[in-house]
């Protein structure tokens, strides 16, 4: 469990940090801290991995055929149903 003051003050910035969306100064401060703090390094790595896993397991935006049929019928668009 992290409870050090520096770690805590940086936690809110880690999400922007992994997106590369932080200003140079804060980014450098985090990188300096990560060199010395193993716990925070683990948090950053597992945060990146968490985002990666959700991206990797995202399914394509497909509507099942029966759902699509009912949608087009409900919208009175049956004539445009193509397979």
């Amino acid at each position: 469990m992290i409870d050090q003051e520096t770690c805590h003050s940086l936690l809110d910035s880690l999400s922007d940090y992994v997106d590369g969306a932080l200003g140079d100064e804060l980014c450098a401060e985090i990188e300096r801290h990560l060199e010395d703090c193993n716990d925070c390094r683990i948090v950053v790595d597992s945060l990146r991995k968490t985002i990666y896993l959700y991206h990797e397991t995202t399914t394509p935006p497909v509507v099942p055929d029966d759902v699509r049929d009912r949608l087009f019928r409900r919208l009175d668009l049956e004539e445009f149903l193509q397979r």
Binding site: D45, K49, Y54, T59, R70
Partner: protein, 216 residues
């Protein structure tokens, strides 16, 4: 914003849509039903409810095309209708409004304590097993809807902070805060799950070493 409006006009003719052109509307449905359905399924974790939201979204869009001002993208507008419909359904389902609208201090307040386990080294097949994928979905369901919807729009639908803020009518900084909290919460939930797998791995490896040692 000029460029996104241009893009919308290039993809679909607002004029034809507003005039009630069925073929053009069918093309709109064909183009966006997939992403709207995916968002609804993930938000509601229920296929029947998601189908209702899908249908309602396009019925409302059809009936209110004249109110669409063309300043945002059509997709942004459709996502907004769908998100509102889904969040409303969730509110009804729970019937306790406070559990849906997170109190401000919960969203903006201090981070919770963090779990530290280095599970990143687990092999990919284990990280992405069928069981793990189920857990990823379950962790997402455990997020408060106000965080879940931001995470889904940003990470699953791949929309920008700006677009997400337009869809949910939130400030960009509120979107960033919610995304950060959602990611950190999911990281924590995943750490509980994969942390156990890691321990099992380590124990297994230790046993192997003991057996190997015994043999020598």
């Amino acid at each position: 914003m000029g460029s996104s409006a241009d893009r919308t006009e290039a993809e679909f003719s607002l004029e034809r849509l507003r005039a009630g052109d069925r073929a053009e509307f069918a093309r709109l449905v064909e183009t966006y039903s997939g992403v709207i359905y995916r968002l609804a399924v993930k938000l509601l974790a229920n296929e029947q409810d998601a189908e209702d939201v899908l249908q309602e979204t396009f019925i409302k869009a059809y009936n209110h095309l004249n109110n669409f001002n063309g300043r945002s993208k059509l997709s942004t507008w459709l996502y907004r209708i769908a998100s509102n419909e889904a969040l409303m359904l969730l509110r009804k389902r729970k019937q306790v409004p406070l559990s849906i609208e997170e109190p401000a201090e919960f969203i903006e307040g201090d981070q919770e304590p963090l779990q530290i386990k280095d599970w990143c080294c687990l092999p990919e097949p284990e990280l992405m097993s069928a069981e793990a994928r189920k857990y990823l979905d379950k962790a997402l369901e455990d997020l408060p809807p106000s965080m879940r919807v931001v995470f889904l729009l940003r990470e699953i639908e791949g929309l920008s902070t700006r677009e997400t803020s337009e869809i949910l009518e939130l400030s960009e900084s509120a979107v960033k805060t919610r995304l950060s909290r959602a990611r950190m919460r999911l990281r924590d939930l995943l750490t509980s799950y994969y942390g156990e797998k890691l321990e099992a791995h380590t124990e297994h490896a230790q046993k192997e070493r003991v057996i190997e040692g015994g043999r020598q």
